[in-house]
């Protein structure tokens, strides 16, 4: 005999059991949401600091230019304004993470400079060897030729207030550098006579690198380890670049640059076969064109 009221009771029990996981999940979700809202409203600073510690998710492909960006350039022929070519810089990673972004400063080709002792040594030294014999004193700054007047962005003079630079200034010396800018007008060049050139836009001091390593040890982000690997490679510390490239690859095998740095480091360490094997396996797995190119270079002996 059909007893519908009794059946309804049984259904209610069944329905409750069926929906219980959903209820529990909803309740837990609501609690988490409520707590988050509470923390956000009562202690926004904590939340903001937590949020700000998260690095951007973009995978940074560092510029693997071996030669550092020249800081003081003397160009006799003012036709090609190559000094104004903007190069991708990894320092923006710094700036982002330290929450001090000054985009305009980063974009300015020649602006104020903060030069560390080491950098001054490194970067002025080759200049001394150059034929033009650039003088270190600003007084001897020759005027640029007035003929070359291609339209250019005016150098924006902004104060180097980024935290990065702040850290650097602790050990840095502000050096007035003679700037020979072929594309500047007389007026502009006059202005730049006493300006400071930011040296080492793409370079990283040891302290900065250590800072990145610390952050990497804390956060284990592949972007950071790749950055470190690149920097070590640039510095010629191939053992370390090998190590960090390998770490990067282990953290995220999709980052192609990690394999390239890894292979390059192996080559530099004299492990050519290992590098070739690694690249071959990687090409087989991903079909990477860059890896193929590198492998070809290695095979032909054109890789340096």
């Amino acid at each position: 005999m059909l007893d519908v009221p009794e059946l309804e009771k049984r259904w209610a029990k069944y329905h409750f059991k069926k929906m219980l996981p959903l209820y529990i999940m909803s309740t837990v979700g609501a609690i988490i949401l409520g707590l988050s809202a509470y923390i956000y409203t009562t202690k926004p600073a904590v939340v903001m600091s937590l949020l700000s510690q998260e690095p951007t998710e973009t995978v940074i492909t560092p510029s693997v230019k071996k030669d550092p960006l020249p800081t003081i350039v003397k160009r006799p022929v003012p036709t090609v304004p190559s000094q104004n070519i903007l190069r991708p810089s990894l320092t923006f990673l710094y700036n982002l993470e330290e929450r001090v972004i000054n985009a305009e400063e980063n974009l300015s080709p020649v602006a104020t400079a903060v030069v560390t002792d080491n950098k001054v040594k490194q970067q002025i030294k080759p200049k001394a060897k150059s034929k033009s014999k650039p003088k270190a004193k600003p007084k001897s700054k020759p005027k640029p030729k007035p003929k070359a007047k291609p339209k250019q962005r005016k150098p924006v003079k902004t104060k180097p207030v980024t935290k990065t630079t702040h850290v650097a200034t602790k050990k840095s010396v502000v050096v007035p550098v003679k700037v020979i800018h072929p594309v500047e007008t007389e007026k502009q060049s006059a202005k730049t006579q006493n300006t400071l050139v930011k040296v080492g836009h793409n370079t990283t001091s040891d302290d900065e690198l250590k800072g990145v390593i610390k952050r990497f040890n804390r956060k284990k982000k592949p972007a950071l380890s790749l950055f470190i690997a690149n920097k070590y490679y640039e510095k010629g510390n191939y053992a370390e670049s090998y190590k960090y490239a390998r770490i990067t690859y282990n953290l995220n095998p999709k980052i192609e640059d990690s394999m390239l740095i890894y292979a390059k480091s192996l080559i530099k360490l004299g492990k050519k076969d290992k590098a070739k094997n690694a690249l071959t396996a990687y090409i087989k797995k991903t079909g990477s064109i860059n890896a193929k190119t590198l492998l070809n270079q290695i095979n032909k002996g054109t890789f340096k």
């Binding site: 059909l2 519908v4 059946l7 309804e8 049984r10 259904w11 029990k13 069944y14 329905h15 059991k17």
Partner: protein, 270 residues
């Protein structure tokens, strides 16, 4: 039909009765049916129809029987006759119209069979063939070898492997057709066709794909189980129609009622 009485007679549609008139033609089952009819025309000794209980074997055989019987001699033994003597007596009477009050053994039956000459080989459909004993099956094999009778067996899928494994059947079952449970879309067609055939147009529209999917969850597309669930469902609907009409919807079948029917019929253990 008035909507207030919509559920009262509808449950009868889903009574589990094997009647070829109620056979719902679905694409897949019709393909199997035609294949079976073609197999009968071939000079095969035995034909096997197998599938899980409730997949429509009996219904299909019933339809086959109804369709073929006007054209040729067809005997449909729905309930297995386990006793050998009784089986041969039934067979002798149904096929050759030979009646005897005495017991009949295999040799006697073969003599009777040889005595009668038939133009078209009679067909004997044996439903629930898994219930026949092995010795009787062996004798049935010998009868089919003599080409005096063509047998169609219907049995549960679980027994099929055992049957095929037996050597003497491996060479003799030359045609086999498997029936399977309905998919959700097939079940929708099945339910709607059944209701439409009984002129329950409003009810047929109430079974949307969503509600049939829900039913399919419980019955897995088994026709017998579906009939059972729907019978229970319409019983519940009828109760609401009589006692709490405000709770009855006439545009869709509520999930609650389907689940209640599933509890009532034992598909949900609650």
């Amino acid at each position: 039909m008035k909507s207030s009485k919509i559920f009262h007679n509808s449950k009868e549609v889903f009574q589990d009765i094997v009647d070829s008139k109620d056979y719902v033609q679905l694409d897949r089952s019709m393909a199997i049916y035609h294949a079976l009819k073609e197999a009968i025309q071939k000079p095969l000794k035995m034909i096997l129809v197998f599938g899980k209980p409730g997949t429509g074997k009996s219904m299909m055989l019933n339809k086959l029987y109804k369709e073929l019987s006007p054209k040729q001699k067809v005997v449909y033994i729905q309930t297995p006759v386990i006793d050998e003597s009784e089986f041969f007596k039934v067979l002798a009477y149904e096929v050759f119209r030979f009646n005897t009050p005495d017991a009949l053994n295999f040799t006697q039956f073969m003599e009777i069979a040889n005595h009668f000459e038939v133009e078209v080989t009679p067909i004997v459909i044996l439903d629930e063939a898994q219930l026949y004993s092995e010795s009787l099956m062996e004798k049935i094999r010998l009868i089919s070898d003599s080409r005096k009778i063509k047998f169609i067996f219907a049995l549960h899928k679980t027994q099929k492997e055992d049957l095929i494994a037996k050597e003497h059947f491996q060479t003799r079952i030359w045609e086999s057709q498997e029936l399977q449970n309905a998919t959700a879309s097939e079940l929708t067609v099945y339910i709607q066709k059944k209701l439409l055939r009984a002129n329950f147009f409003d009810l047929a529209n109430m079974f949307t794909e969503k509600s049939v999917r829900h039913i399919h969850q419980f019955t897995d597309g088994n026709y017998r189980d579906t009939n059972k669930l729907l019978y229970g469902l319409f019983e519940i609907c009828s109760w609401y129609e009589d006692n709490a009409p405000s709770k009855v919807k006439f545009n869709a079948i509520p999930t609650k009622l389907i689940e209640m029917a599933a509890i009532h019929t034992g598909f949900i253990d609650a």
